[in-house]
Symmetry: C2
Amino acid sequence: MAEVLVKDLFSDQHFAEDEEIVLHGWVKTVRGSKRVGFIELSDGSSMKHAQIVMRSDLENYAEMTKLPLSSTIKVVGTVVYTPDAKQPLEVHASKIVLEGASDNDYPLQKKKHTYEYLRTMAHLRPRTDTFYAVFRIRSLAAFAIHQYLQEHGFTYVNTPIITSSDSEGAGEMFRVTTLDMNNLPKTEDGKVDDSKDFFKAETNLTVSGQLQVEAFALSLRDVYTFGPTFRAEDSHTARHASEFWMIEPEMAFADLHDSMKVSEELLKSVVSYLLKHAKDELQFLNDNVDDDLLDRLHQTISEKFAEITYTQAIEELEKAPVKFDVPVKWGIDLQSEHERYLCEQVYGRPTFLTDYPRDIKAFYMRDNDDGKTVAAADMLVPRIGELVGGSQREERVAQLEQKIKDFNLPPKEYEWYSELRKYGETPHSGFGIGFERLLMYVTGMENIRDVIPYPRTPGNAEF
Amino acid sequence: MAEVLVKDLFSDQHFAEDEEIVLHGWVKTVRGSKRVGFIELSDGSSMKHAQIVMRSDLENYAEMTKLPLSSTIKVVGTVVYTPDAKQPLEVHASKIVLEGASDNDYPLQKKKHTYEYLRTMAHLRPRTDTFYAVFRIRSLAAFAIHQYLQEHGFTYVNTPIITSSDSEGAGEMFRVTTLDMNNLPKTEDGKVDDSKDFFKAETNLTVSGQLQVEAFALSLRDVYTFGPTFRAEDSHTARHASEFWMIEPEMAFADLHDSMKVSEELLKSVVSYLLKHAKDELQFLNDNVDDDLLDRLHQTISEKFAEITYTQAIEELEKAPVKFDVPVKWGIDLQSEHERYLCEQVYGRPTFLTDYPRDIKAFYMRDNDDGKTVAAADMLVPRIGELVGGSQREERVAQLEQKIKDFNLPPKEYEWYSELRKYGETPHSGFGIGFERLLMYVTGMENIRDVIPYPRTPGNAEF
């Protein structure tokens, strides 16, 4: 008797009529009449469920047709192919063993639940088909990213999570401490004595690994981080979480267009990987969550992305027959409404915006010769807005140090960052992708909380 | 003129005598006489350096032979194969352009530096050959882990970093907060009012994703986490860091031996991957850091690991002709000295110890029928001691709830964890690998600080 997985049943493997197989799994649905009963069985190996057919002469037939959902069972049976039926095959059970009975109050009964309700049970929602599909895609997308980058010679670098520096010179951060909050050590002037803290200094959770990964690009050439980042912003939107993952590739001897090219290829390769390896999951989400999903993904890989400058974008937006909540003029930080208008209405596909105003972008971006703009490029995508933010980095040490001053950053803290240039200036560029935004794009889910296993948002760090 | 990488020069690709190529890279060494000069050039694409030959008729010959180390240059030249020389090829330069001059005070001059000194410049040490090798291996090992698990049907799950639960019921944790430490909100009884904190509760950095990933195993069957974990212990050893990465696979419908089998196969597959894809790096480390490295790695993949019970191990240790610092008796938590004695002296290879005393292991491990031990298995490896810790999880809800009481844990906090059983008990097992310990094993580095890009230890969170 061979132990098999549900995915084996739906693979090329053929099972003979008299070949006894064993399956273990969870009961997804169950129904039975006097003479015959059916269990849909999931064992986690596939989006598909196995249809188990029980005849009333099964030893424990009555009990099995009344199983609470989510009970675990062992099924012994044979495969019967049914090419003319909705299901291509059934498993005719000769024996079913109840391994773990679920309680009758199992909260995920057959009826549809709202995503809000399911968020209150992050430990159980992976048992639903929708979240099964989303979290399989999350895993496959992460691997596709690693695979693309590794195959292209990139080195994966784990930049630190706890940090004493603030890489953006902005962004609200979470403090990390082991001080006893009920008995804080104080300095003479009555302030908290950070020198008594675990790291003998104030430390925070990282908002980006970019500055730290640049140091590795300036030795290993093409590198990337892929890890969690944090923002302590009191945002309650569907697009913001307090904890999220970022992919940050960084390339030495590369200019802005090299970086844009890699980001476009990377996105296309992830989408292609999913279209190949997550067929069932994407089809399910297309049928049940976002009926535009498959079209959008196929279009993403088939067309060259558009490219315009920020200045051209402002001109497009100024002549748009649309009233935006935030009025458009040169110098504004574009909002999601503007970004989506451009890539959805004007260009109808992912669109790069380049050469943003110097004053609205980070200090490390390379100044263009016009004195007004920087060599930055964001990739905007339909439904999401900004998916990728990238730039060429300021490699000229004099300009960098001036900019650190202009942005009122403490030069002492950025000394090591300047030294990366002092010891061999190298043109280099990179970009950051918000992993969860990418997942919203490739799953059709509309709330970032629904693509994160255990989402963290203001007021919520349960589990 | 083709832009090429140093790795291309050492690949199967052949370059014709008159084919002009362009290289960009960093000057690793430079020397010159009146008539001829040499630059060793690294461009980050390979452990190998390209030997650049300059003749004195080169336009800027004098300047180029005096370049400060770590300057970046562009070289135009042709490839000359030298099969009889130490270097299989040279690049004869027709033109060299200085792109970024390094300062003369570049701290990594040719002489050997101690690892301690290099740790003070985590941003520059990747420019040394040793750390280049270590961090390339770190990246390749991470990918090998993902690849093995994905190919075996495992789903990658990003468990939360910020958490309100303490998965081990032990371990010192870092607090995460946005409260103003100089102006803390207080409750009526004078304590810090955690309900005013960002997440409206006390939150900490995770010590393990295991409990959270179990929820996913009970739907997706075979899953894993691979992310940063944290311990706020005041340890100053060469084996402990405050921030480190863990791989935690978890499998449903799997017992302890299934889990041990996967951990052995996973380790062997990582080592095989490195022997294939990090040849130059491993050879360099074998020649310069640990001359036993390659032998150890080849042995790791060639033999079945040993397996004994904890009780047998205690008997071995009791009859050992060695005086241990911590005396041996049944019930002790084994120390590194004991672990290394067993796998180095007694078995001479990686060794599983199984069935540890219940009282020294975590609450979630499955009780054996003897009432004294649990279904746990640690993998001990030479030079390191414990590399993997695994167990079958207690899936029986009554036993689990009793154990939560026995271990004095707050039942309310573990309600969701019990519910994973209540809604369909499923035998399941898993293990955790400390990624940095694995890296010490496969690089020969002896201090955990030297396998982490930016190590965090008590008193140190620089960069």
